[in-house]
């Protein structure tokens, strides 16, 4: 059977994928940019838009990192405002389970779901760094091993709060004077190693019952967490082979948790560059890569891998000939990607030097080659075919597209690629439902206590 493709739009983030230096690049903080981005996605009949989050400005060499876009709005607040300027688009926010409390997050998501008519989704992430913790009264810091446990119990606790209202408590009968059908709605009690709370949840059950749950974990533990509790995975595996392996692995874990293959969508993040022809797109993609990796940015990447400041380093010359500094202390803080570097920096540096030798590449050219290649490059017809083939080949259920220009970088995709997918009958011509669960093809949740989250998360 031909699968229907799911498409979503990731608001360009605070990393070097986003090309702020382009003359077409607009504000990353004014509401108008978010409105235009969201309305473009809705014009393209996308399932949802996606916001990442980081709760401490990044630093490198002990100072605030200044080369990428810096600064972003509060996730909940901007999504609630976007609900006012869109009618169908799902609203997915990344919210950290380490620097929040379940009662608060549960009521904010339930509120967002009410205020958007059932369009809220939560990408559950966890940090464990004391660096970010310095911004919070709660403080750091989790042992790394505890982070999934905290995320799991946090989500389970939030689910318990959402399920504390069944949906039939409010009768609001003016004649009889009964507002509530029951004297103590929202009653809950939860006690475990992380949370010891009880009382009454104060937001009635929301249109979707709870937000749609996203997960981004990639480790074995992360995959089990997603397979047991998530509705969708935000993955990094956007190529055919990687995508198929990840897809088969995670979908294969679902039966263990009593779930079917269509109850968890796999949606890799993907970038794109369009041109009138494939050749033009390839040229453009190369230019975009050079803009994404300015000489200054290339130097910062090299410092991250070598884990040491290189103040006089020439990025147009060769890579450093010495080995990276292996240490528990990293010069880059608040950036998830450097943990990939830190796993085995010496071997990775050897790999980079081999790439340089093979292609006679300068240090900057190596960085351009090895970091962040675009997922889809080509004429609209080519990109539409690639996406469809990948989805039909079970490398993904769809893609979360990250344009490199804010706010209008999504428009060419919506105007040129979406119609081709619609012509092929693999993408909706119009919305057929109103909630995000509808868009994702997820069955509605029942009333009281049927989100299943609490039980699965606790097991």
């Amino acid at each position: 059977m031909t699968k229907q493709i799911h498409l979503a739009a990731h608001f360009p983030g605070v990393n070097n994928t986003t090309v702020w230096s382009d003359p077409a690049a607009g504000s990353h903080i004014e509401f108008d940019s978010f409105t235009r981005f969201a309305q473009t996605a809705e014009r393209g009949k996308f399932d949802f838009m996606f916001l990442a989050e980081g709760l401490r400005l990044r630093e490198q060499n002990g100072v605030i990192y200044d080369l990428d876009v810096v600064g972003r709005p509060d996730t909940f607040t901007i999504l609630a405002a976007l609900a006012a300027v869109t009618d169908y688009l799902g609203l997915t926010g990344t919210i950290n389970s380490t620097f929040n409390e379940p009662y608060e997050v549960a009521r904010q998501f339930a509120s967002l779901d009410h205020l958007s008519g059932g369009r809220a989704a939560w990408n559950v992430v966890t940090s464990w760094d004391g660096f970010t913790g310095e911004n919070f009264r709660r403080g750091g810091y989790l042992a790394q091993d505890d982070r999934y446990e905290r995320a799991r119990t946090f989500l389970g606790t939030a689910a318990q709060l959402w399920d504390s209202w069944g949906g039939d408590e409010i009768i609001a009968d003016k004649q009889s004077g009964e507002f509530l059908a029951t004297p103590a709605p929202g009653a809950f009690k939860h006690s475990d190693a992380f949370f010891d709370i009880q009382g009454q949840f104060n937001v009635p059950r929301s249109p979707q019952g709870r937000p749609v749950i996203f997960q981004a974990g990639d480790s074995d533990e992360g995959r089990n967490f997603a397979a047991s509790t998530a509705d969708a995975i935000f993955s990094r595996h956007s190529t055919l082979k990687d995508g198929q392996a990840f897809y088969a692995d995670v979908k294969g874990r679902l039966p263990k948790y009593g779930r079917t293959r269509d109850q968890l969508l796999i949606l890799p993040a993907a970038t794109f560059v369009l041109g009138d022809t494939d050749a033009e797109a390839a040229d453009l993609a190369h230019e975009v890569r050079r803009a994404q990796v300015s000489p200054q940015t290339a130097l910062r990447f090299i410092e991250q891998l070598w884990n040491t400041p290189l103040p006089d380093f020439d990025v147009d010359g060769p890579l450093p000939d010495f080995d990276p500094v292996v240490s528990d202390t990293l010069i880059s803080k608040g950036r998830a990607s450097v943990r990939m570097f830190a796993k085995n920096p010496v071997a990775l540096a050897d790999e980079w030097r081999a790439r340089a030798a093979d292609g006679k590449l300068s240090a900057r050219e190596v960085v351009i080659e090895v970091t962040g290649r675009q997922s889809f490059v080509g004429a609209p017809e080519t990109v539409a075919s690639s996406i469809n083939e990948l989805v039909q080949a079970d490398a993904a259920d769809g893609y979360i597209l990250v344009p490199h220009i804010t706010p209008d970088g999504l428009a060419p995709f919506v105007d040129k690629v979406v119609p081709l997918l619609q012509e092929r009958g693999v993408f909706r011509a119009d919305y057929t439902g109103t909630t995000l669960r509808d868009h994702l093809g997820l069955d509605p949740l029942g009333q009281s206590g049927e989100t299943g989250q609490a039980n699965r998360a606790a097991s």
Partner: protein, 416 residues
Amino acid sequence: MAPAPHSPAEALHLAVALDGAGWHPAAWREPDAQPDRLFTAAYWVDLAQQAERGLLDFVTIEDGLDLQSDDHFARDERTDRVRGRLDAVLIAARTAPKTRRIGFVPTAVTTHTEPFHISKEIATLDYVSTGRAGVRVQIAGRTDTAAHFGRREIAPLSAEKVNTGRRNDPDVQALIEAHFDEAADYVEVLRRLWDSWEDDAEIRDVATGRFIDRDKLHYIDFEGRWFSVRGPSITPRPPQGQPVVAALGHATVPYRLIARSADIGFVTPRDRAGAAKIIAEIRSEQALAGRAEETLHVFGDLVVFLDNNAPAAHDRRRRLDELAGVAYSSDAYIFAGNAAELADLLLDWAQAGLAGFRLRPGALPHDLAQITDALVPELQRRGAFRTGYPGPDASGSGTLRGLLGLPRPANRYASV
């Protein structure tokens, strides 16, 4: 800018306090009440647009991290009252883009939330409303509310501590002061975080590859008795520089919070003399806090039942009391009557130095419509209320600070 004196000839500021179906516990049973819409965006958009048609300064939105209760210190199990609410900041954010001029001042609880989160929420509300955001800070003393969080540095305030004649015990006083001192620290952190980016920190300098001038971002390094926050904010300085901060107070300790930390204090006098006394106390605390030169507006809070003729308003209040089974009482003065009578009262009390009023509609939408359609025209006829929002040339045009005559604050971290 020194606080302006207010004579009847000068314009009052008017705000309306939105909460559920209105402030009377039986308001949801009124024929025009919409209790089945309380949890929809459209309900709040309708109310805010109605308030904006009345040219009001701002709406406040009540909130709490517990289920409403008639008992201030514990939950009740009543089924005949509105129960359940949505997050006030998110209601404001959902509503603001559907309005153009009116301000939004949602309630945020300081006792259990993270100042870092609330700071960026209100900054973002300021962005999505293009400069019309504020926040009303509120402490949450209930024991059962604290149990929703399970992490507290300050002991909760229980009924037996506050209500059984022990209110003046030194221990109880210290506890009350601790809650409000923490709220003052909280507001200090909010303001520092809003200032932690200078207005021109974003430079987009292609030649050097720098998006920001990092020298214009600042660690706030707040270290207080209850928490520390490093900063800077992840959200750039909002359009108003610092959104408007408000607090409600009924006694010396909260008056001190208002005097030290707020741009607007909501107070609950019972008459003009009472208003004068409260204002004198706040002004004295304001001077002690070294803020004598700053504009701090004091608004009188009133619950209002308004009808075209006074007997109808009294009848309605009585009818609602009968439905509720108990005479409605409030921390604020309860007014029932017609618009002319209310205008008389407001202009009289304003003589005591109140800059404006926050009116709590007894029932929604009825009393809000009476405020916008009867009270506002009455005040306009007397030259005591604006006849339109300020034009594009007015200072601070389009912002809540502009409406309120509050200057845009200089950034404490900016080097001149």
